[in-house]
Symmetry: C2
Subunit: 173 residues, 2 copies
């Protein structure tokens, strides 16, 4: 089986890093539990929203993300049984490209460069399964889909949902 796996908010904790940076900038003490739904920026006062929108353009942002819980272990097992590709819509942020490559080298060295894809649209991917946190990407994918839960997609129900990498493992391993 050919499996494509998104990076941000699927294997890399982008949402959590936004919260950390927000806390630091505005001297707050919020945690994931304070974000019930929506994007990070939608959960903060309007005058702070632009600041969050700039995070992804900040040098070092993508290099500093924490891996999502259990993603390393489960992806390693998945990649021994299936053909696993990382597919990130990274072309929007050219500064992130090298950071994402280095981040994968650090945390997912078992995913070779041949199995890493930085793209825009994901409907050009040909394979069996796409795991992504964005319905926008899943809607147009020509194969099976799994929506990886994030506060911003909590109200969506047009795709099978997984809440953790343990759940992915139970489905695919």
């Amino acid at each position: 089986m050919v499996i494509f796996i998104d990076m941000d908010d699927v294997i890399a904790d982008t949402y959590g890093k936004h919260i950390d940076m927000y806390n630091e900038e505005f001297n707050k003490n919020l945690s994931l539990e304070d974000f019930k739904s929506g994007e990070v920026w939608q959960n903060v006062p309007e005058i702070h929203q632009d600041s969050i929108r700039l995070h992804a353009r900040t040098k070092g942002f993508f290099r500093a993300l924490e891996p999502i819980k259990d993603s390393i272990r489960i992806l390693k097992e998945l990649s021994e049984k299936h053909e696993v590709f990382i597919a990130s819509a990274a072309m929007q942020f050219p500064n992130s490209l090298k950071e994402k490559s280095e981040w994968l080298d650090q945390f997912f060295p078992f995913i070779s460069w041949q199995h890493r894809i930085l793209c825009g649209h994901k409907y050009i991917l040909k394979g069996d399964l796409l795991i992504d946190d964005r319905s926008l990407n899943l809607d147009k994918f020509d194969g099976n889909t799994l929506l990886f839960t994030s506060p911003h997609n909590i109200h969506e129900n047009s795709h099978d949902r997984v809440n953790s990498w343990e759940e992915v493992a139970r489905k695919l391993l």
Copy 2:
């Protein structure tokens, strides 16, 4: 029609840049006409070959490439009639990722970030046509193929061949 177009030696003159750098390093005066077949490094004395192999890892190499003749004009016309994606196996050289993005911004600004793909394997692409200079990529592509002529592929005959962007235009426009 969804068309994927490779970068190196298809829209970007990588081969020519290797020759220029070789000339400069070793005080030679070679031109493309001196390279009848094979890779650039296969055409120079063995003691110079390692030097050429390092070019692609040199900072600025991919940013400094010249566009292949007519590629800008024909791609612009193609992209008005078809859905055109750039697909480069760039993940091998992480230092090249940003340079390639900036190079496309300069010469192909009409190809949006959503239509740029930096990948390894190309058999994961789903579309109608792949234009590439490497049979390796074309062999496994699930669609039509065009081999863009380069000295290194001159003896291959397993794919339809185009020798110039004018020829591509005659086929597709």
